[in-house]
């Protein structure tokens, strides 16, 4: 038996990848360029696919392989390509300009991560031994992704960066599903992927039209409707 078949090795790999996912999420908060943000999102999705893949391998569960494959195909490749082309098309490459400056944002993200650990505590079920317990410890990371994604949505004024924040928030949900129940039932999983894909296309069209109409992607200019 090689070391790669040892569940303990799998557990370490998953912990490592989950930690990187969290680091990448905070990187997204901290760094200032839109295009880099798209790449960071792609790598984060790749790592998520890796986590799902590892769990599928140690549990020999085919439906998790499918979820991992779909994540790789859609979130790590297709969506970043779509978003990247959109950036080229509307000819912007500027900075992200968050409302709260970067150091404060990073501190907020740290606090949200702490909060995620507190929230996740009562949800953790009894630790299972061996392959069946893999990935249980990623729940706090998943909740942290969700909360930080939420924070990014509020903190950003450019339309496209809000889309990215929404997507990373969705990544948190995917990780939570993997960690809690090893994914949703297949039909639901497929439906969610379909919805995310259609949503990104619709949002891309909207971003494009907002850019055309307002000559800017700054959503804080979308303030004519009041009362």
């Amino acid at each position: 038996m090689g070391f790669w078949q040892d569940p303990q090795f799998g557990d370490r790999m998953i912990t490592l990848m989950a930690a990187l996912v969290l680091v990448l999420q905070i990187t997204m908060v901290a760094q200032r360029w839109l295009v880099t943000n798209i790449y960071v999102f792609a790598i984060q999705s790749l790592l998520l696919a890796g986590i799902a893949n590892t769990i599928a391998y140690f549990n020999s569960a085919p439906h998790i392989y499918i979820a991992a494959g779909l994540t790789l195909l859609f979130k790590a490749i297709l969506l970043p390509v779509i978003l990247r082309r959109l950036v080229t098309r509307i000819g912007i490459r500027q900075e992200i300009e968050p409302f709260v400056n970067v150091p404060v944002s990073v501190i907020v993200s740290g606090l949200l991560t702490l909060l995620a650990y507190v929230v996740a505590e009562p949800l953790q079920s009894r630790p299972a031994i061996g392959a069946a317990g893999l990935g249980r410890n990623t729940l706090p990371v998943a909740i942290a992704l969700f909360l930080i994604g939420f924070f990014m949505m509020i903190n950003r004024r450019k339309a496209l960066t809000q889309v990215l924040a929404l997507l990373s928030l969705e990544n948190g949900l995917f990780l939570a599903a993997i960690s809690l129940t090893y994914g949703m039932p297949m039909i639901v999983e497929l439906g969610i992927f379909f919805d995310v894909l259609v949503a990104v296309m619709i949002l891309a069209i909207l971003v494009f039209r907002i850019r055309e109409t307002f000559d800017s992607m700054d959503v804080s200019r979308l303030s004519r409707l009041r009362g």
Binding site: L123, L180, M186, I192, F194, D195, A199, I202, L206, L222
Partner: protein
């Protein structure tokens, strides 16, 4: 069989419309699809009344009295909007119209799927589908403000639905702890409802909060309501009416399903307190915005927030009367609200603005049919007797008193009176007044037939409710009046 028709007819209509070019053909397909959907909904309701709840397609689809009632109301609104849209869009560009006629059946399909999906995960997927299908309906007119409304709708809706997905996921987790990981049916309604009593309490508590925030956003409950006035005032009238009635009902339906699970697991007091809180917030937030409103389209949106709040509050009051009040209110609201929207649409097309400040009044003379109806519909929607909403609101008050919430019921009365006075003041100023020479006269056509028909229905429902419909309402309320 009716359940398959219900889902296939709108899908087919959307596909067929994509292949046609002419305005007449698109209108014909659309109205046929709406009539077909309504007939299928009636057949489904009859079947449910006859045989009780049943599953179809290996348990993928499921219908009980609650889903049959919501399906019926959705199909009714779809039909009303389809007939009104033939008149409303008469002068619009065919290219734009195609978008409307392709996307609206998809919206109807998603709403039908929300209500008949057995799997709560599929229900979520369909709910997201309603958002996706309606974003480009909000941008129909292509104004900068409609882009703004659509953006807010997409973003706030997206965040809300992701919370609902998290809640669904936690419910699945709670179920899989009890039923075992391998159970693929662990999100199916019948399975969940049967085993909810054994779910983990902490997980279900968090799940219900997330579901309430998530589907509450979709229903436009305060404080997640901010997208609603924008989206309702920017989208075309038939779309706004569909969202205000059918999408609201679908979201409340999803919320009600999780409410039942939560009550079975945690007992009624925890979910009831939360529902009452959000109900009062929604009704309360509508009051100032209705009192100082400058646009009658936005006024209707705040009225929709108010009615969503009333329905949630009724569910929170609980007991036997609360759910009955909620279901009756949902039924009456589904008939009255489209009437109000259609009158507002006719008024807006006549005077070319939705402003309450700039209009000279005297709509009564310019629109001999829609003008007076607008005023009467306002009375009906604010719960004035003899119209039907008065009865359901009265029943909800009784439920409040029966549940010993005397103070809260008094507050509800005060809020409803404030909303009535603000609403009536605005619409009366718009409708009454001396004749204004600039206005033309109104002809009978597809813009006025639905108004007249709906008004007749509203009037009749105030005095008499058909026995099968009432037993459906009672059946649905019985499903929500759960004991732990």
């Amino acid at each position: 069989m009716p359940i398959a028709l219900l889902l296939l007819i709108p899908l087919a209509a959307s596909g067929l419309t994509a292949m046609t070019r002419g305005r007449r053909a698109m209108e014909l397909i659309h109205i046929l699809s709406a009539v077909g959907g309504f007939v299928a909904a009636i057949l489904l309701a009859a079947k449910v009344l006859d045989r009780g709840e049943s599953s179809y397609w290996n348990g993928f689809l499921f219908a009980d009295a609650l889903s049959a009632l919501v399906v019926l109301l959705t199909a009714f609104t779809y039909l009303a909007c389809a007939s009104y849209s033939m008149g409303y869009f008469r002068n619009d560009d065919v290219v734009k119209l195609r978008k409307y006629y392709i996307l609206t059946p998809l919206l109807a399909f998603s709403m039908f799927l929300v209500t008949v999906a057995s799997n709560l995960g599929v229900m979520w997927v369909a709910m997201e589908g309603t958002t996706l299908a309606s974003i480009f309906l909000v941008t129909y007119y292509g104004r900068p403000t409609s882009l703004e409304a659509a953006w807010k709708y997409a973003m706030i809706g997206g965040v809300g639905l992701s919370m609902a997905l998290f809640g669904t996921l936690l419910t699945y987790y709670a179920a899989s702890q009890v039923l075992g990981m391998e159970s693929l049916s662990a999100l199916n309604w019948t399975v969940l409802a049967g085993s909810a009593a054994r779910f983990d309490h902490t997980v279900m508590r968090l799940a219900f909060i997330l579901i309430l925030l998530g589907y509450g956003t979709k229903a436009g409950l305060a404080p997640m309501h901010t997208w609603k006035p924008d989206a309702y005032s920017e989208s075309p009238i038939p779309v706004a009416a569909l969202m205000s009635v059918a999408v609201l009902n679908s979201a409340l339906y999803a919320l009600a399903r999780f409410y039942v699970l939560t009550v079975r697991c945690l007992g009624p007091s925890f979910p009831s307190q939360l529902l009452m809180l959000f109900g009062f917030l929604s009704i309360g937030i509508a009051v100032p915005f209705i009192l100082v409103q400058r646009s009658y389209r936005r006024l209707l949106a705040y009225s929709s927030i108010d009615h969503g709040g009333i329905m949630v509050l009724a569910l929170g009051f609980g007991g036997a009367l609360g759910p009955l009040g909620m279901m009756l209110h949902m039924t009456f609201h589904a008939v009255t609200k489209p009437l109000l929207f259609f009158c507002a649409g006719n008024a807006q097309q006549q005077i070319g603005s939705d402003s309450l400040k700039k209009t000279p009044g005297g709509l009564l003379h310019a629109l001999p049919v829609s003008g007076p109806m607008f005023l009467l519909a306002t009375l009906a929607v604010t719960g004035t007797p003899p119209f039907s909403i008065f009865q359901s609101e009265f029943l909800i008050l009784r439920a409040g008193f029966a549940a010993q919430h005397v103070g809260r019921s008094m507050v509800l009365v005060a809020l409803l009176v404030a909303i009535f006075s603000g609403f009536f003041h605005h619409i009366a100023q718009l409708v009454l007044g001396p004749p204004n020479s600039a206005h033309g006269t109104e002809n009978w056509g597809w813009k006025t037939y639905p108004v007249a028909a709906l008004f007749a229905l509203v009037l009749v429902l105030g005095f008499w409710i058909p026995a099968p419909l009432y037993s459906l309402v009672k059946g649905a309320a019985g499903l929500l009046a759960v004991q732990p």
